[in-house]
Amino acid sequence: MSFPILDVVVLLPLGAALAIALLPRQAPMALPKWLGLGSGVVELGFVLWTVVAFKTGNNHAGFQFTSREPWFGPLGISWYLGVDGISLFLVAVTALLFPIAMATRPSPEGALPRSYLGWMLVLESACMASFLSLDAFLFFIAFEVTLVPGYFVILGGLGERRAYAATKFFLYTFAGSAFLFVGILATYLLVAARLPAGSPASFDIITLARGAMHLPLADQELLLVAFGVAFAVKMPLVPFHTWMPDAYTQAPTGGSMVLSGILFKLGAYGILRWGIFLFPRAAVDLAPLALTLGAVGVVWGSVVAAMQRDLKRLVAYGTVAGVGFIVVGLFGFTVQGITGGVVEMVNHGLSIGGLFLLVGMVWERRRTHELDQLGGLQTVAPVLGWVFMAVLLSAVGLPGLNGFIGELLVLLGTFITHRWWAVVATSGALLGAIYLLWAYQRVFHGPAKAVNAGIRDMTWGERAAIAPLLAGIVFIGVYPQPLLSRIQPAVDHLVAHIEYADPSLKIPSSGQGHGTFAVPANQVVDVPAGTTSSAAAGRGGRP
């Protein structure tokens, strides 16, 4: 048996958290810090190894590095992990962001508190388990577990309303999860009832996907809505987003980074893996609703962001717009759109995570996020200004940086099948520039106010913290092929699955159909869903 690398990826941070919790009280102050950061870096090493060893090509569209242990046999629950192109880079960005987030101090004085490190590690474990789980029950557990450390991380911030924010975060997402719980159980039971005699019921994703697509359409739609509500709250999609600005604003810097960079991706990832994949026909039927919420989210989030007077809140609302883009991409159902959605999830971890990190640096220097208290920082902290500008341009979607790759694929892909939603979402390119550049102007341009005159530029430690994010931003923007070649087979497979579930639908993978849905005959795929990966062979791209 090969090395169970995914089990290690899931359990390592949990082990480190336990070790920190069990450290004797009189242990040196620095020990938990090095234990936490060290395990984060080792974890990153394992994940990078996974990315490198991940097989690409159309024959490797399925899950890799799978690991399966029966867990609660009679009910068909198992510890089942695996990674494919869709989850691979979400895992990678998780492993990248957590060590950086852990290194940022939640309060400016003193060492890193143990509890903070511990909860962050638990959170990392839970996120990894959510991305890697191929068992619906395991996924639900991991998805729920994120709430507890999330709650305590927000509570560890310095904001005045942090208790309100943390409670609201907990309750709101928990309410959403109730729907998810019902949805999962219902799917399990409904599928089990239709299984041929003798085959055991199971929570594993392949069994569920095979069965769920044959359920009556009305049932599928109800189930998708149940899943959708949970994930929409988590993402958060307009109009389920109002817990988010408070939570992100009140949390400490590292908390905001992982909340926005990783945790909300659970929602977007969930809707793709557990929503669209399980109920493709319902997803196609409900696409106009999802697309509308996404497109409205782009406009809504950007406009509200522009009007904020608090820098951190502004970035938080930017997240709403970003989520809108992702949803628009996923529900376009084209290979480009879904690939773009996945790339956007990764991008968002880098650029929004990076923005929160930088906002934290501004806060450490000035102890405020109020835009009218800031100003002229570029004069006194030029390096901070340059780096902020680079990350901001990534969020704006400047070609050559990562944001553009995702944005373009999303819009171009969805334009082929759902033209007018893509047109509305395209306005995000303008609106994003408005709120971000306006914010930049108010923070960095103008004469340096007297209170801002004395602040110091980025320290070497801070530069080291942001450097990996910047490297990712530029690399993905210039040479996205390593990402796309790993993501696309899985997406091809998913699109083939959607087409199989709904034979009346033919999704063009390029625009050669003169703007319609017509597809050359050799691209029509007809394979059993879920397991075969040859489905993608016909759609690998135009010769």
């Binding site: 790759i405 303008l430 550049l437 102007q441 390029s510 703007g515």
Partner: protein
């Protein structure tokens, strides 16, 4: 094409990129002037490389001068295959030659102009990044890679307009430029989506057809069935929206006058000679498609000629030397779009070239004047400078005659050719264009007279902040603070009195003036309309679909005479009138305030638009949506308490309520399964 020429084509893009990286990493350490020389070297190298590539292409038969050089695959996703690759053909070579050439001259000039500026190295970082982006824009082999350059130049423009970001005006102007451009870019993006949806490709050769093996293919070969007229119209209209933003045409022109907040070399390079012509380039590039979109062609021509006229009227009443030139640029860009709209692509490109020469020269000359007068920009406080700045005056004079359309200077030939083509399409287009030509000669003469002739008003004038005269120009009087004067750092007001007699600039600044002056005088020679000297037309000819009617020689002569008389009239009137500085009748306030268009837009944005957005943010988002959520939560909490089941805490009452709900739902599902 020879390997040397291929490598040279790569170098046109690679050298500025290398210069950018070098200055980004080492600029601070290199300091002044080395960082400037690194930048200039990169630009000059790119120009030399463009020359080599051009010579290489000339070695080929005229119909097969088109080469696609792939570097690597950028976007490989299913049906979408976009390369990072270069297209070397007559159009891209023409653009690359003039962009790198003008750019090299302005890099050199900037070493002198930015002397002692604390941001010296940052300036050249931006300048080389700009040149790289511009080279990508014109040499890319597909729409998407061009868009990278397109956005790149937009960003550099943002950074350079706001170069002196300590001043609020500059920061605001920079943001305005970027945002306005982005509005246009939405059009570009949507056009690409539509292109992909229709053609399944974003490559120029796949969409537009090309010259493969010496024969035109696709649309270029004249296969109108390849694209329905409505699709062609939609795509080209959306691309034109992008062009309108980038090239400052109606209605997205407002950012360009404000962009004069940037250092003067930037105004010359980016906001006159190169970047703003990118829109014209784009429309010329898609000429084979535009050929099948008659509605778009009409829109382009009408927008072009209206912009030309409107901007010219505004230019007649500006006091700020750079603002007058900015409106003049908008007006001249209008001529280029007029050319594109009437199907005379070659002369659009021709005017783009001659305009680049004389307008860059005008700006650089203005920079020399501003420098000599210690950062004064109000023309009403200038005068009589010809005696003090002879080199500047003579070179500026050449550009003045060129833009005024006086034969045999460069501008005459290109403008005349455009007007002749316009006459063939529609007489009204011609009439407005000809009237604009007279206005152009008038406002340029006004500028020349105010600056170089008459009394030396700068010797007597005192800056009157807030005074009636300085009113509009007050913000701009400070515009050049920090450029080259040790005493005035960025943001400081200019010294009240001149410390020394104004004099001509040093050789690094004078040399580009002279080079550009020669080009402004002789530039018409690249496309002389007789004796088979129309080099540019013959070079570009294979790339453009054949235009319809061409004016007969007799008509051309007649039209030439008419426009020349008009231009001379404007010239004489302007010169005669503006020997003195005060003629309120000729400067009504609606012209000084630019027809109140900018004011109206600003009022709308800061009034109703912002109020709406505020309403969305604070009423809709916070009160309505969040209020609803909190209301539901409160209701649940109250009912939880009322039930008196769980009393110890907020969280638990929810958990309880939810579990009840879950059980109920599960029961329902179990019932369904069971039945």
């Amino acid at each position: 094409m020879t390997p040397a020429a291929v490598n040279a084509a790569y170098a046109v893009v690679a050298l500025p990129l290398a210069g950018f990286v070098a200055n980004l990493v080492l600029g601070r350490r290199l300091g002044e002037p080395k960082a400037g020389w690194v930048g200039t070297l990169a630009a000059t190298g790119a120009f030399a490389a463009a020359l080599v590539a051009w010579v290489g292409a000339l070695g080929q038969p005229s119909a097969s001068r088109s080469f696609d050089l792939k570097v690597f695959t950028w976007f490989p996703v299913a049906g979408l295959h976009v390369n990072v690759g270069l297209l070397v053909d007559p159009l891209s070579l023409t653009m690359a030659l003039f962009v790198t050439g003008v750019s090299a001259a302005i890099h050199l000039y900037s070493i002198g102009y930015m002397h002692r500026d604390p941001g010296f190295d940052r300036f050249f970082v931006y300048l080389n990044l700009f040149l790289f982006s511009m080279a990508v824009l014109v040499m890319a082999d597909n729409f998407l890679f061009s868009f990278l350059g397109w956005e790149g130049v937009g960003f550099c423009s943002y950074g350079l307009i706001g170069f002196w970001f300590q001043r609020e005006v500059a920061a605001v102007a920079a943001k305005k430029a970027f945002v306005t451009n982005r509005a246009g870019d939405m059009g570009f993006l949507l056009a690409m989506f539509l292109l992909f949806a229709h053609f399944g490709s974003l490559n120029y050769s796949a969409v537009l057809g090309g010259l493969v093996g010496g024969h035109p293919t696709g649309l270029l070969a004249g296969a109108p069935g390849a694209v329905p007229g409505t699709t062609a119209t939609a795509i080209t209209l959306l691309l034109f929206l992008g062009a309108v933003g980038k090239s400052a045409q109606l209605p997205l022109y407002m950012w360009l006058p404000d962009a004069m907040e940037g250092p003067t070399p930037i105004s010359a390079l980016i906001h006159a000679a190169t970047m703003v012509t990118a829109g014209v380039y784009l429309m010329a590039r898609v000429a084979p498609l535009l050929h099948y979109a008659h509605a778009t062609a009409w829109v382009v021509a009408c927008v072009g000629v209206s912009t030309a006229f409107l901007a010219a009227t505004i230019a007649c009443a500006q006091d700020d030397i750079k603002k007058a030139l900015a409106y003049s640029t908008i007006s001249q860009l209008g001529y280029m779009f007029l050319a594109v709209g009437v199907g005379d692509y070659t002369d659009g490109v021709f005017h783009m070239l001659t305009h680049a020469f004389f307008k860059a020269l005008l700006f650089l000359g203005a920079g020399a004047v501003i420098h000599a007068l210690a950062d004064r920009q109000d023309m009403k406080q200038m005068g009589g400078l010809a005696r003090y700045l002879p080199v500047t005056a003579v070179t500026f004079g050449a550009a003045w005659l060129a833009i005024s359309g006086i034969p045999p200077f460069a501008g005459f030939w290109s403008k005349d050719a455009i007007l002749a083509s316009a006459w063939e399409m529609n007489k009204v287009l011609w009439a407005i264009g000809a009237l604009t030509a007279a206005l152009t000669a008038y406002y340029m003469s006004r500028q020349f007279a105010l600056v170089f002739t008459g009394r030396a008003r700068w010797a007597e004038a005192r800056p009157t902040p807030g005074g009636a005269l300085a009113g509009a120009g007050a913000a701009f009087a400070e515009g050049e603070a920090g450029a080259g004067h040790a005493a005035s750092g960025p943001g400081l007001p200019p010294p009240p009195h001149l410390e020394a007699r104004p004099r001509d600039p040093s050789w690094v600044m004078a040399a580009p003036l002279v080079v550009l002056a020669i080009a402004s005088v002789l530039g018409g020679g690249i496309n002389f309309p007789a004796w088979h000297l129309d080099f540019l037309s013959r070079f570009l000819h294979p790339l453009f679909p054949a235009t319809g009617a061409v004016a007969s020689t007799a008509t051309k002569w007649a039209l030439s005479v008419v426009t020349t008389i008009l231009s001379l009239g404007g010239l004489a009137f302007g010169l005669a009138t503006w020997r003195t500085a005060e003629h309120p009748v000729l400067e009504p306030s609606f012209l000084r305030r630019a027809w109140y268009i900018d004011d109206t837009v600003s009022a709308a944005v800061s009034g109703p638009v912002q109020a709406l957005a505020d309403g969305l943010a604070y009423v809709m988002d916070r009160r309505l949506v969040d209020g609803f959520v909190n209301g539901v939560a409160g209701l649940l909490a109250t009912s939880g308490r009322a039930l008196r089941r769980v009393q110890n805490g907020y969280v638990r009452s929810y958990a309880f309520g939810l579990s009840v709900g879950v059980i109920a739902l599960l029961a329902y599902v179990a019932f369904r399964v069971g039945s």
